[in-house]
Amino acid sequence: MKIQKQLKDQIVEICNSFNNDPCNLINVLHQVQGKIGYLPVEVQQVIAECLHIPASKVYGVVTFYAFFTMTPKGKYAVSVCLGTACYVRGAEKVLEEFERQLGIKSGETDATGTFSLNTLRCVGACGLAPVAMVGDKVYGRLTPADVKAIVEEYRAMEK
């Protein structure tokens, strides 16, 4: 297993800032993921070493919580809200349309790393249901017919 020195130093620094206390594992994972976007194997191994806990424990925690991911997200992370309010206003159809337009399933990133698609549970904008987000930008009161235009908007930015 190999890791870039610079990255390792960053992780060690984050762990140090939490006194290498295993109780702070989740806070550490948040900060590391915030910094590099995801939590690959070698990164988890370094965290395990710093906090003096088995790597299997770190992996057990990373795979338990929905917020943590071991695969990098796309440049444009599309999240469709599947909270109840959005669901009863047709969020499932919106999700299916995103899947069709992007050619990937929920939880996947496309081959070029441009788009990734995920679902989330309630962003607290139930008044705008159904809601989807691309990065931090919120799109509300969506119908399946709106999806194509949203995807095109970002595709155009890539060209």
Binding site: D21, P22, C23, N24, L25, I26, N27, L29, H30, L51, K57, G60, V61, F64, Y65, A66, F67, F68, L82, G83, T84, A85, Y87, V88, R89, G90, K93, E96, E97, R100, L120, R121, C122, V123, G124, A125, C126, G127, L128, A129, V131, V138, G140, T143, P144, A145, V147, K148
Partner: protein, 597 residues
């Protein structure tokens, strides 16, 4: 609010924020500067006003004018008209759907009339990032009086007498909980706030934290003093960046003012608060799971006893309260337990915040006295069903709750009545459904959620919910049998009876309540292979009536998969093999030519 003539309050809640409320604030500030009015008018981003349906909301003080659905480009008109000329901008006022009259003061709107704001008292009234505004509205007065009285047992007694119960779901009496923790001796105890709101359709805790963070800090300090804890921990969802930011600001300010830290109010009471982040696990709302998560472990619940009051965070006595519960504490101290216990029903006192959503006209965050009926909420506050459709069910309690029908509309809402009706209070999600919602699909929706969120520790929840979900899936595809319904009912009963934690024990509620209240709909799926609500894809077919179709081509153009064929001015046809049953065509057709079979 010192020398300003006007205050412009802009909703900074998540819903309004998503509709550009930050841009609105920026525009106001820029325009005021341009017109040299920045010393006369103050612009404040507040917490959620609750009326999300009509957001973004802008409120003008001192005259209480309530502008709805404001766009960034409306700012100039509001300043020119309202501030400079003293005239209200009519077109941005709330239009009463019944009387067709504009209402400028929120007090007169149906949405607010029946509400009673205790937990949300400051949301939408103060700048949550300014501690002075909180103090100006009696903030930290309760903490001061509790410390001055210096009789934690008496304070616990007051909370007990107020009748306040946990707002996170189960409804355990808060005062009793504190009383159980207090006598346990340890070198360190913890006062924990559960802000890991995970119910997919509830955002009251988030709104309180975003709109009134100091109320939680004050309540935690009071609780810490009562149980003998000097450390407070807030376990908050990482998905709530704004709430986290506001809490951090508020904690910083409270420390600066000596309201957190050593020798608070000159007494020997020390108390400080740290944040811990959740990472997306609904089960962490269960207190033992929450504690494990804060310890850096997998959020799996453990058998109680030992209760956290005896063995909690780091094996030390701990007390866990939900955000909304805590938000009530300072008011109870300030106004007295007698006042609080006069509100509500016999066993459920005070108010409850609900996130009202779904197929209803006024989506938003509401706070109502216990004992109010569902009918009042849905038809008076909520303004009735959207699009004039028929009410079918209301789901309360999120994934742990159930679906209630027409016959429960006049039942006074409290903890006991909701449980008796087959649902529960839960954290306060309230989703209204109309005739287009298929109840089998709704049950499956909630079960999908539980299957995804189950921690996997106990077999009934790990495997049982998966099996229930598979059976429901079969039914929605028209492949179910009557035996499946028996299996489903038995599974639901056993899981409820044998699962390890509250999540597992309540997870069958959406299934049981829909089986009980919508048996015919299940039978229709199983026996007739039909979905009466027309929602189950496998059981429906979109068809164009050639007599009604004018050949306008609108549907063909909108169809995302190009499944509609035909020439201009001639009846169109749907290619059933290509159709993905998204329903876009039916929404597009102006001639009612498309129907579901």
């Amino acid at each position: 609010m010192a020398n300003y003539k006007y205050h412009i309050l802009i909703c900074g809640g998540t819903g309004c924020h998503a509709s550009q409320s930050a841009k609105i604030k920026e525009n106001f500030e820029q325009l005021l500067k341009e017109k040299n009015l920045e010393n006369d008018v103050q612009v404040i981003a507040t917490g959620c006003f609750g009326f999300c349906e009509k957001g973004p909301i802008v409120k003008m003080l001192p005259d209480n004018t309530f502008y709805t659905q404001v766009k960034p480009e409306d700012c100039r008109e509001i300043i020119d008209e309202h501030i400079i000329k003293g005239r209200k901008v009519e077109r941005l006022l709330y239009l009463d759907p019944k009387t067709q009259e504009h209402k400028s003061d929120s007090k007169h709107m149906g949405f607010y009339k029946k509400q009673m704001r205790i937990a949300l008292r400051n949301c939408g009234f103060i700048n949550p990032e300014n501690i002075d505004e909180y103090i100006a509205r009696d903030g930290y007065k309760a903490l001061a009086s509790v410390l001055e009285q210096n009789d934690p047992e008496a304070t616990i007694e007051d909370i007990k007498k107020s009748g306040l119960r946990g707002r996170g779901g189960a409804g355990f009496p808060t005062g009793v909980k504190w009383g159980l923790c207090r006598p346990n001796k340890a070198d360190q105890k913890y006062m924990i706030c559960n802000a890991d709101e995970g119910d997919p359709g509830a955002f009251m805790d988030r709104s309180i934290l975003e709109g009134d963070p100091h109320s939680i800090i004050e309540a935690m300090a009071i609780g810490g003093f009562c149980i003998g804890a000097t450390k407070g921990l807030i376990y908050i969802r990482a998905e709530y960046p704004l709430a986290i930011h506001r809490l951090q600001v508020a904690i910083g300010q409270a420390r600066e003012y000596g309201l957190l830290g050593k020798n608070i109010f000159g007494t020997d009471f020390d108390f400080d608060i740290e944040l811990r982040y959740g990472a997306g696990a609904f089960v962490c709302g269960e207190e033992t799971a929450l504690i494990h998560s804060m310890e850096g472990q997998r959020g799996e619940p453990t058998f109680k006893p030992p209760f956290p009051a005896v063995e909690g965070f780091m094996k030390k006595p701990s007390n866990v309260n939900n955000v909304e519960t805590l938000a009530n504490i300072p008011v109870i101290i300030n106004k007295g337990w007698e006042w609080f216990s006069s509100i509500g029903t016999e066993k459920s006192k005070g108010t409850k915040v609900f996130a009202l959503a779904g197929q209803i006209n006024n989506v938003g965050l509401i706070e109502v006295p216990m004992g109010i009926t569902l009918r009042e909420i849905i038809y008076e506050i909520g303004g009735g069903i959207k699009g004039g459709k028929q009410f079918k069910a209301v789901q309360t309690g999120g994934p742990s709750g159930g679906c209630l029908t027409e016959k429960f509309l006049d039942t006074p809402i409290d903890y006991e009545n909701l449980v008796a009706a087959g649902s529960m209070m839960g954290s306060g999600g309230m989703i209204v459904m109309d005739e287009t919602s298929c109840m089998v699909s709704v049950a499956k929706f909630y079960l999908d959620f539980t299957v995804e969120e189950s921690c996997g520790k106990c077999s009934p929840c790990r495997i049982g919910n998966k099996r229930m979900c598979e059976i429901l899936d079969k039914i929605t595809k028209g492949q179910g049998t009557m035996e499946d319904l028996d299996t489903l009912r038995n599974l639901a009963k056993v899981i409820k009876d044998s699962a390890l934690c509250g999540l597992g024990q309540t997870s069958p509620n959406p299934v049981l309540s829909t089986i009980d209240n919508f048996w015919d709909e299940y039978v229709a799926h199983v026996v007739d292979k039909k979905c009466p609500a027309g929602q189950c894809k496998a059981l429906k077919k979109y068809v164009i009536d050639p007599d009604k179709c004018k050949g306008c081509t609108a549907c063909a153009r909108k169809c995302p998969v190009g499944a509609i064929h035909g020439t201009v001015k001639n009846p169109h046809e749907i290619d059933q093999a290509a159709c993905i049953k998204c329903g876009t065509c039916i929404d597009t057709c102006k001639f009612n030519a498309i129907s579901i079979q």
